[in-house]
């Protein structure tokens, strides 16, 4: 049994596409999930942030772009505009697109704050929050459409665990 310190769901082989699964989900490979959490931990005591790119229709992340928090704050974040442009251009060159943003909450739950909801830039994006309030980081994801917050499942993919 491979030990991995986060919940790993090994269903890649039979991963349903959006046609079969109308419920919003975020699919993220385990190494990118770990990279995202690590970037948040390294960013302490400030909030950390980054962008997720991949297949918008499937909700599957294929690249994580850690970004600088231009606000340099423990309470708010601003993805450094230069990092935003670089990530967008890189994603475009790979034929994928930015599909979401992650950021940490250093002392609160992994739930969107009123500021997160007000400033959510794109109703098609996934909004991932990494709570570092407790010793063990908590990762949750949401959609934010017209101010309405809906939680979605985060499925962590680990190819190493898929049989065959």
């Amino acid at each position: 049994m491979l030990h991995y310190p986060i919940t790993v769901t090994t269903i890649r082989a039979s991963k349903p596409g959006p046609r079969y699964n109308p419920v919003a989900m975020l699919w993220i490979p385990s190494d990118l999930h770990a990279e995202m959490v690590a970037h948040c931990l390294v960013g302490l005591p400030d909030e950390a942030c980054g962008l997720l790119a991949g297949d918008a229709e499937a909700g599957e992340v294929s690249i994580c772009y850690p970004a600088r928090n231009a606000a340099k704050s423990a309470k708010v974040y601003t993805v450094d505009p230069r990092d935003m442009l670089q990530a967008d251009k890189d994603a475009e060159s790979r034929g994928i697109e930015i599909i979401g943003v992650f950021h940490s909450h250093t002392h609160t739950d992994a739930y969107p704050s009123p500021t997160d909801v007000d400033q959510a830039p794109d109703p098609g994006w996934h909004y991932v929050i990494v709570s570092l309030r407790d010793t063990h980081p908590v990762v949750r994801s949401y959609t934010i459409v017209d101010g309405e917050v809906e939680e979605e499942s985060v499925v962590v993919l680990n190819d190493a665990l898929v049989p065959g």
């Binding site: 942030c49 993805v79 943003v101 704050s113 400033q119 098609g124």
Partner: protein, 91 residues
């Protein structure tokens, strides 16, 4: 001389899905006003009512954010690439 403007996903519904459009203008202000003239639906998302740059968008000339240049007065010359992206922030 038109300049290529890269649009964020959210604004592409206004351009029939096109991710890049060509717009005439000598400054970023000219370019944004011309965009709004051609695609009125973009108006509220790019500029405030007083004509200043909306705080939820970032506009770049090549690799530089116009907020670190001369904002709407930032000059644009033929061959430059203008990019518009969401300003991603929260709490």
């Amino acid at each position: 001389m038109p300049v290529d403007v890269r649009l964020p996903t959210l604004l592409r519904s206004q351009t029939g899905g096109r991710s890049t459009v060509s717009v005439e203008g000598k400054t970023i202000g000219d370019i944004l006003n011309e965009l709004v003239a051609q695609y009125p639906g973009m108006g509220g998302q790019l500029l405030n009512e007083d004509g200043t740059l909306h705080r939820f968008v970032n506009v770049y000339v090549n690799d530089d954010d116009v907020r670190y240049l001369d904002l709407l007065d930032t000059p644009v010359k033929p061959g430059d690439e203008v990019s518009i992206l969401p300003a991603v922030a929260g709490g």
